[in-house]
Subunit: 714 residues, 2 copies
């Protein structure tokens, strides 16, 4: 082991000969040799850390996994997996997010830089033991210190580099469905939103737009005149976001396949032939994204889409997901054939059934194909968790090259920390379960801690049928998440905001409009979080120490200003809300907002289905605007400012052009708002460099619930 | 349609020519012809009722289904199904519990007496519409009125007859596991409990005790000397409860099979041959429990067990569960063989996979075999929901005949209302998920409404791995449920109270002891609930009308005296508790109890893992005793009485011999306790006919939290 201080807050322990993952950025050695904080045990080529947990210790982090904000009492595995059913016992989902904080008497962050499987037993097998098993001997352990929990996350975020920044339109509302089968259905969705006056920023295109699941193909039959479609919708403010899968269909004459073979871009099997796995198109080869020329080749294939006017894509199936491979399907069919004329008992039946039932994503597949890393051939298994990361890096390279100065929308399903610099993620194939809305809430701060800011869940739930009440409640939460997408699976109940009757349509419209009203604030908070390495969503326990704050995982701080506490249960007309401090309840009605200051403590607040509520903290300012049908038509001319002020409050509303990278050159707008209480009134000061804002209309409440309104020309 | 008044509270609507299910008892006609409350629509041989729901209406009932106490926002199907995964979207579980109450401006109960599929859409497809689809034209609809929600349930329970009453030892703590593979393991469990001083009433035997899954066989190899084992354990206070499945293995020379063939006891296929389905033993035939002589034949087969000293059994797989049948396995294998040399695409692969994956419990199986009902052959599908009911009726007949005056323990997995008279039910194959503990809580009142009082869930969770904290929390709830069984599946983490280390063992011991301390009260409440047709577990909304009471589905009234509000979430050191009225918090420490009166309102109460708490209502009395290792060694000599009295309180502690049916002849014990506040003190009166109680030790608290202790000799 070699150890060193990377900076004042980060100690690095290098065991064996770890592969360079490029997750940690700008690493340099401040000082050689630092003490080991926890000692590993090496055994059978694996490594284990055992950490004693005190009864009150909490474990934060681990990104887009199941469970609470506090990860205790569960087992996890970092091994990117296309897990189609997020039931409670599942340990591995799509991401490898190996950052966590142990919080108790001391707080300390840990990041394990290792590209294959890591198992976590967080006080599951033994209440007081946190066991970490790394399936190898070559890795780096980073130990991150800080003055507070938040400080630790900042110190970690700083070493992994700034997160991906989408265009501002990426913060709009997106509709999606696996099963919009042709151009006509896409137009129908677009028109329905328009007719009903529901804001819409774009429509995601799932597999359906391709020609027989071939990546970088567009069905000429079902999506004839694709380029015109893209252009006419974009003109009307609606972007199309097509999907790209990792696997390339094996098909003679198909350009991507032929080029891949020609350029030796595909992962090889043991015999050095391109590895064959089956995914949506049937047999596919996987691009070897570990090779830089393959990254470039695949990345530039997105040209097919950008040439058609596309400015955003989603990368899917890139764990990579494998339905079966040549060997496994042969085994399954062989056993079936063998069983055919036998008198089966239950167990031989279960054996045959199992061959089919559990045929997807078997561990052994990932041992059967190889990446070329430098001069070495390394099995996917050994570097498994980097595959989706490198695919998205490839896409980022391609889209950056193709779209030049224009920002693009890019999200991925599989991820590793590090990928956060290249694209966002959605939380994968959730279900229309109330518990998955609950999970969505709990994931947000954990994802932020691991660098993922442009993220969100499939609103309304992907699998199974959603229903009106669920969609309304889900939206009431997800309008706060940077990535806001309503997505559902083929064969399920249609899930557009207007699919559940008039009453639900009306409520959904109101909430989506609330998103657009809040969009300047959400965008500002996003940009500041990313640029300042601050969490956008924070657990209450990052600021408050009581048991109740630690357990209120269904409430989140958003930025410095807001606390959100959504309803996420069926048939509820209200919920318990814990206010750790006095806050102003904000109710967004159609076109106006109400403020009412509530005492700190435990409350039951009414949240009728039609009520959209959140909380503004004391001495805080929330700017917002009138809603619009999409980002490009959102006017900031009249800024509306809600403030709850007893002493003095400040807010700096960040903005930029939303489309270019000029913000990197300092071309940004700041609207610095100050409100201070004077003996009789408030002193308001606005320093504004944003040319689009002409007027600020203030609604200020104090702790006596006295509301004052003022308007200032800028 | 013919309609009549059955009694003052029950209207009956008879559509078509319904089959006699014997669910409703002692039906007579008070008055012919009453108005239709809701009108059915008949279409394609089916019937639909559409009921408009107001926004605040609640729907109670539907027994052992998923979802909340309020059933709105979900779809259900009554069609007894061996559903191995109780995920949120599932509509049909093991029971057909067709009683529900619509509660709003008016309250009204409904019971549909129909033996096949009924679909309920409770405001799912449309927020304000409750749709009921009955898959036939011949049924009875009962409409039940009452002065209150509770009164409606009582009026319903009265017409379906008194629930099954187990022996008092049935209220002890039971250990179970699918996978205790031989006598030695059973003895090890017994000895472990004994060594650690954890009370144990009995051990359930799963499939493992049989000879190759043959019902009414006992493995001579693994359970050699079964009778001696039963006797020696019973002497030591531990009962064995073996499982019996519905299917009889097809095997020449196997007595049950041969007798079944000989006596024509098996269900027939279309060709009049015994229907072959596959379950655990491989091919089986299903006894035709619709024939009375088959009921008698099968019932008396339990003699194999009672002869060995067995006094309790559990009936399983009696939906009946079918893994596959001859035709379906042939189809699956044929498709596999056909696919063998084809180049499969994803969809033909999914088709082949689906044949295996979804091969269990297909609708078509139940259309392929027939029951003899009178002179008619009726497909199982048409009378599906009565199968488990009649199997358990058969077992009840057998055990009653064999055990004569001795009460027996009998539970079943499949059920229909009506079966509640013959045995209890457990809630089937749940998982070690926190959400399934939550479900357990919510199920209790709904099950009571449908007549099922002797019921409970697999504590700790059946499927998947449980862990220490979960087991402790689960026990803290389930020690209140009449059926208290810790059961887990083969291949999962061992789940005995001592399987999770010392700390957990200690906590589990304390909570199981609390069960025995409370056992006199729980038994008393059980007997009174059954005999007086009163719910044992009641939703708060049966007494309180606020939104909060309606939504506090994680709190229950138990009897008239207690409110329980368990912790059912990971990593929680407390929870929100809503006290609709002043209550005394009762904390059970080792060997003593503390009372502390809390104001009505919303609280966050600490519930450390080591704290076992519940609430005693004002002017209520809770008798209890010191713990013991099992029911037979439980001494009532010193009755301990907790009371929270501001004015006056009364409690009648019911008891009987616990083993015979003498209670029916009035051989019962009553201990009538009265406590009244006087100006300075309390007046205590105890009228006792229970010869075992010699002394009563009172701990009385008033609203000022002043505690007084008194002891009275009896």
């Amino acid at each position: 082991m070699k150890s060193y201080l990377m900076n004042d807050n980060v100690k690095v322990y290098r065991y064996g000969q770890p592969m360079e993952t490029n997750i940690v950025q700008g690493r340099k050695v401040e000082k050689q040799g630092v003490d080991e904080i926890i000692k590993p045990k090496f055994e059978n080529g694996k490594c284990r850390f055992d950490i004693k947990l005190q009864p009150d210790d909490m474990v934060y982090g681990l990104g887009g996994n199941l469970g609470g904000i506090n990860k205790r009492g569960r087992r996890y595995e970092s091994y990117c997996t296309d897990e189609p059913s997020h039931t409670d016992e599942k340990r591995a989902l799509y991401g490898a997010h190996n950052f966590f904080i142990i919080s108790g008497e001391e707080n300390r962050g840990y990041f394990i830089d290792f590209p294959s499987r890591i198992k976590y037993d967080v006080g599951f097998s033994q209440l007081d033991k946190f066991s970490i098993q790394i399936s190898g001997r070559d890795f780096c352990l980073y130990v991150i210190e800080g003055k507070s929990l938040e400080d630790i996350t900042t110190n970690f975020l700083k070493i992994i580099g700034k997160a991906y920044i989408p265009p501002k339109w990426g913060f709009g509302y997106f509709q999606s469905r696996w099963g919009y089968k042709n151009k006509e259905e896409i137009l129908e969705v677009h028109n329905s939103f328009k007719e009903k006056g529901i804001p819409l920023e774009g429509i995601y295109l799932d597999l359906d737009y391709m020609e027989r699941f071939k990546v970088f193909s567009i069905s000429t039959e079902r999506f004839e005149g694709f380029k015109n479609l893209v252009a006419s919708l974009k003109k009307d403010g609606t972007y199309l976001i097509p999907i790209i899968d990792a696997g390339v269909k094996v098909e003679k004459g198909y350009d991507v396949y032929e080029e891949g073979i020609e350029g030796e871009h595909f992962c090889k099997d043991e015999d050095g032939k391109p590895y064959v796995a089956a995914v949506w198109p049937g047999d596919v080869h996987f691009p070897d994204f570990f090779k830089e020329d393959t990254q470039r080749w695949f990345g530039l294939k997105y040209k097919v889409l950008t040439d058609a006017g596309i400015e955003g894509v989603w990368n899917d199936m890139n764990e990579p997901s494998i339905f079966y491979d040549e060997k496994s399907i042969k085994d399954a069919l062989d056993l079936a054939v063998e069983s055919k004329d036998k008198d089966m008992d239950a167990f031989s039946f279960f054996a045959a059934k199992d061959k089919f039932e559990n045929i997807a994503n078997k561990d052994e597949y990932y041992q059967r194909f190889y990446h070329q890393v430098g001069n070495q051939n390394i099995s996917n298994d050994e570097v498994h968790n980097l595959y989706g990361y490198y695919m998205t890096k490839s896409a980022n390279f391609g889209l950056s090259s193709l779209l030049k100065d224009k920002r693009f929308l890019l999200i991925s399903r599989a991820s590793s920390i590090g990928m956060h610099r290249y694209g966002g993620i959605w939380t994968g194939d959730n279900y229309s379960f109330w518990s998955h809305l609950d999970q969505n809430i709990k994931n947000m701060p954990s994802l932020n801690m691991c660098g993922f800011f442009y993220t969100g869940a499939d609103t309304g739930g992907f699998g199974n049928d959603s229903y009106g009440e669920m969609l309304v409640r889900w939206l009431q939460f997800s309008v706060f998440t940077p990535l806001l997408r309503n997505h559902s699976a083929i064969g399920t109940q249609n899930q557009e905001p207007y699919a559940f009757g008039e009453k639900v349509t009306k409520e959904c419209k109101k909430i989506i409009e609330a998103r657009y009203r809040l969009l300047p604030y959400i965008y500002s908070e996003y940009m500041k979080s990313v640029n300042n390495f601050k969490l956008m969503f924070r657990p209450l326990s990052f600021e408050y120490d009581e048991d109740l704050a630690k357990e209120a995982e269904d409430q989140l701080f958003l930025g410095e200003e807001l606390m959100i506490a959504p309803v996420y249960k069926a048939n509820h007309k209200g919920r318990f809300v814990y206010l750790p401090e006095k806050m102003a309840e904000v109710t967004f009605d159609e076109g106006n907002e109400r403020l009412e200051v509530k005492d700190s403590g435990i409350h039951y607040f009414n949240y009728k289905l039609s009520e959209f509520k959140f909380y503004l903290r004391e001495d805080s300012i929330l700017p917002h605007v009138a809603s619009a049908m999409n980002v490009k038509s959102l006017s900031q001319q009249k800024l509306k400012v809600l403030a709850y002020v007893n002493a003095r409050a400040e807010y700096n509303l960040y903005d930029d052009d939303g489309v270019s990278y000029d913000y990197k050159k300092g071309k940004v707008y700041n609207t610095k708002i100050k409100v201070a209480k004077t003996s009789q009134d408030y002193m308001i000061e606005v320093k504004n460099t944003n040319p689009f804002i002409k007027e600020a209309e203030f609604t200020i409440v104090n702790s006596d619930n006295k509301v004052i309104k003022k308007t200032i020309k800028l």
